[in-house]
């Protein structure tokens, strides 16, 4: 929709021009910002013309620019690993290959492939909705958020900690999410994916990704069902009872039109156990 309060859109071409004043917001794809009226939003700073390489393969892993579109990201999953999302989460065995996650998480977006052409990875993470599937992806792969600080310099933190609550992040005024860095070790793990919504391709009720590193360490990442990402880490493959008790100890289950808290908790517990067995 037309953002009628916006007086100016700035489109910086270099980092030197990139600054965000009070009353302004960072604009990436815009598929969220232009979908709601936000009173008092006076200006936008469009970061999509800074020339950031969407995906970079480095020695230490995979770097995904904040402005990488969901469409570009989804193509990181080779066609042979692209599962049918209509049945995903319904107890189907998942691909063990972490590369399958890019496709699965892209398809966990409520929006369709048309939105993927514009929506960005960084925008989805910085929006910090519980159901943000780019958060699920990045958190489950222990990705780090690289944050540009105003006036130069950067800081890094796990994406799982970057999202602090419903539409709340660790970003400070003037900061910009630059990229996420996925460590190589995460991409050498075995993974499993489960998701459920209140309808076949709906907004996530809960999404659980389990990952088992070559050394045996296992981490369960819950998103969507909780108000912020939850990670349960174990040195090896934990017994069922331990996973369940740790899951049930979580006390910030989300409750909204996309599922009640009790159902989200039950589905998360169920998925964690399914994935635990799958990664045995």
């Amino acid at each position: 929709m037309d953002l009628i309060d916006v007086q100016e859109v700035r489109v910086p071409a270099t980092r030197a021009e990139l600054n965000v004043a009070a009353g302004e917001k960072v604009l990436a794809g815009g598929t969220w910002l232009y979908s709601v009226r936000e009173t008092g939003l006076r200006g936008l700073v469009d970061i999509t013309r800074l020339g950031w390489q969407p995906v970079t393969h480095t020695d230490s892993g995979l770097v995904i620019a904040a402005t990488c579109t969901v469409a570009e990201l989804s193509r990181l999953t080779p066609p042979s690993l692209r599962t049918d999302p209509v049945r995903a989460g319904g107890g189907d065995k998942s691909h063990g290959d972490p590369l399958a996650l890019f496709w699965q998480c892209a398809n966990s977006l409520l929006a369709s492939f048309k939105i993927w052409n514009v929506a960005t990875v960084g925008g989805n993470i910085a929006l910090a909705l519980p159901a943000g599937p780019m958060i699920s992806l990045a958190a489950s792969l222990d990705a780090e958020a690289v944050i540009w600080m105003p006036g130069g310099g950067e800081r890094r933190m796990p994406v799982a900690e970057f999202v602090t609550g419903v539409m709340r992040t660790a970003l400070r005024p003037g900061e910009v999410l630059r990229e996420i860095a996925i460590p190589r070790a995460s991409l050498e793990s075995r993974t499993g994916f489960r998701r459920i919504a209140l309808n076949a391709l709906g907004r996530t009720g809960t999404l659980v990704i389990a990952r088992r590193a070559p050394g045996g360490q296992t981490v369960f990442t819950v998103t969507g069902g909780t108000t912020r990402p939850v990670q349960l880490r174990f040195d090896g493959l934990p017994p069922a009872s331990l996973v369940e008790s740790r899951m049930r100890a979580i006390d910030y289950w989300y409750d909204d039109a996309h599922g009640s808290a009790d159902w989200r908790r039950a589905m998360s517990v169920r998925f964690a156990e399914q994935l635990r067995r799958e990664l045995q």
Binding site: D2, I4, E8, V11, D46, W263, A266
Partner: protein, 897 residues
Amino acid sequence: MRFSVNGSPVDADPAAGQVLRTVLRDLDRFDVKKGCDSGDCGACTVLLDGDPIHSCIYPAHRLEGASVTTVAGLGSSEHPHPLQKSFVDAAGFQCGFCTAGLIVTASTFTEDDLGDLPRLLKGNICRCTGYRSIRDAICGRPNTQTPASGEAAGQSVRAPAGLRIATGEEEFTLDFRTTGLLHLAVLKSPHAHARIRSIDVSHALAAEGVHAVLTHRDSPGTLFSTGRHEMRTDDPDDTLVLDPVLRFIGQRVAAVVADSVAIAERALALIEVDYEVLPGVFDPELARQPGAPLLHADKGTDQRVAAPERNVLAQLHGEMGDVDAAIASADAVATGTWQTQRVSHAALETHATRGWLDADGRLVLRTSSQVPYLVRDELCHIFGLAPSRLRVFTARVGGGFGGKQELFTEDLVTLAVLRTGRPVQYEFTREDEFTVASPRHPMRVSVTLAATSDGTLTAMAVDELMDTGAYGNHGIGVMFHSVHESISVYRCANKRVDAESVYTNNLPSGAFRGYGLGQVIFAIESAMDELARTLGMDPFELRRRNVVVPGDDMVIVEPHAETDLIYGSYGLDQCLDLVQGALAGPLPLPDSGWLGGTGMALAMIASLPPRGHYADATVTLLPDGDYEIGVGTVEFGNGTTTVHAQLVASALGTTVERVRIRQSDTDVVEYDTGAFGSAGVVVAGKALLAAASSLAELMLERAYSISPLSGGVVSGGGVLVGSLFLSASELLADGPLTATGRHDGTPRTVAFNVHGFRVAVNPDTGEVRILQSVQAADAGTVLNPEQLRGQIEGATAQAIGTALYEELRLDGAGRVTTTAFRNYHVPRFADIPVTEVLFAETFDALGPLGAKSMSEAPYNPVAPALANAIRDALGVRPSELPMSRDRLWRLASGAAR
């Protein structure tokens, strides 16, 4: 900036924060629609440098050098894109408002994508079709026919506007340019109950670009109802154009008229209002208890408010026989309480009106309405205008479902045009549709049924409480209708009804497909299923034993009441047999961990509303042998226009292409009550058929007067007498040939629907998979099989939405929390199974060529049939809609929330 649209370069200077959709519409590219303006529905889909995007959320400042393709860029009526032709041939649309976006989206699909449609189409909402015909269109499967002259009735004729819709050429309500247009925005009440102590509009009025600010001080003092009916006294007089008392969050406080929507919206913040906040009540049970805040204490029976001292708008309390005694002596009793939710119509075109003064100073309103004549008449009543000073018309309307049997935008536009003398537009946002338009009434319905061991019903007791919200609207009619055919379909000696329609400080509810029947049928048919279980009897058999058959009175609680409702035909027996037969086939075993279940339910409906439904129609012979028809019925996906053309073409021995249609305009014919209560075919259709038959007589008389012959037939736009053909121009040489027809909507007949489901339910997650869905319909003569199939599929899809997904949520203090499609799940392609549609073979004594209405009715049996199947699978009965996964999981696991 420069970019290209459909290959042509354009210059534009978009405002900061503007989106591509509005830039395109500013350039008169009206084929790009607004369904939600939030990227959820896909109606605005265009190609940007070849990639499909939602133009309503695409920043316009990025357009420099871009290439944009809209549906009109894919093809035109003269040179359609293969998909555009395919959507017409497959009948892949009903209202057609989503079609442009669907075609643009599908134009990017490859052969390999055809197996991936559920995923690829999750960004496109169609509220009308149920998606099966859209799949056919995309896969190139035609469903329509081109009948020969005189043979249109009974065949699957294409919609007359088809190719114009598929190419984006057909105009909907706001798809035209008006110079000097002003826009209206509304300041909405932040309080659920308050009184305006004072209101200062001086700052808003002083803002640049603001032309008027309207408050309750400018409002006519005439009370009215936004709900519209043939008789205005059917609805309560409890509403003002602008009321100093605010009774729900979102109610109009004031309106700003300005040069643009943005200016008007921004000026709202400059209005200073001092509110006296009043206590509110949000639960209809509490609202009718002593001591509750009263909403309409100043009104009474003169305004048709039954008991304002306890917030009761309408009530029905009656008993025949002795229900308690029958229950006490019964062999089997089933009882329960069922709760239904608010459901949004979600018609893709939002409510909107554009008004102006014509050259004679007459007020003209072009509106998204199902009832232009009723709107005209009520506006004349409110504003003291003579009917000759007001013209109301519609272009094609983008969906209705009862939601546009209302007066939501026309009154404010009238006030604004009369004040400013300028053209003014008021367009609802999607959020308005969720927060201030009128959803389906939520109801709590308790039912007790009793029977003897042989399955004879001996008692039927229904206790209904419905929340009508802050204004009465359709709250009287819906309540009475809800307990009518739902109860009178069963023969039973002892019946009791206690129904109340109660005011609360929630948003007002309104008319919605089925008009209350769906809610009560959900309860009664669930109870019937439970009774069958208690008796150990097949549910079809229990129905057969107790449903009314021709000769039986259709009774609620008053035996032998006077009525104009008769059995013009009867096909309920066939419907029961058809569905039972369809469910008898083999079924794949559900996956491990899933439980299988079967369920059915039935529904009866009167073919149109009571107390009169009138239509005038004209048919005129044109010199080229075409016919022009004039009819009041609005086309909003009901398909009535297609059937009207078929009826006329058949009666006059021609083809539908030769029937030109003028419709839905108070200037076109004398009167038409409107397109609601499923009346379009059986009332206006009958009037048209009468007019066409009269015209045929007139043409023959004319032929015999100018030639010495006799024994001719009307055919090919003229009269054929033996081997001699008298053409239209020859017949018209002696003067014009026009005939009129009229129908008064009485007596009325009944139609029937039976739905059956087989499902698998996962008790560990609450997921429901529909393995089989079948509906049998008794629609009399089927005038257009493909269109009727589409209506039934679409109604089934809408009802599956109600049954499993849709829920307008409130926070308990009157605020709607589901204000966008992303939080209110309208079924998508992935959610809707194929429904087998079966027709009973009947011929109705009353309807045109034996046809009955069939547009609301198919909705009504779906939710209970699905609930009964889920009950069969889980072993526990769902009693609350929607039967969402979280609710079913909780039910199956026995967990308390």
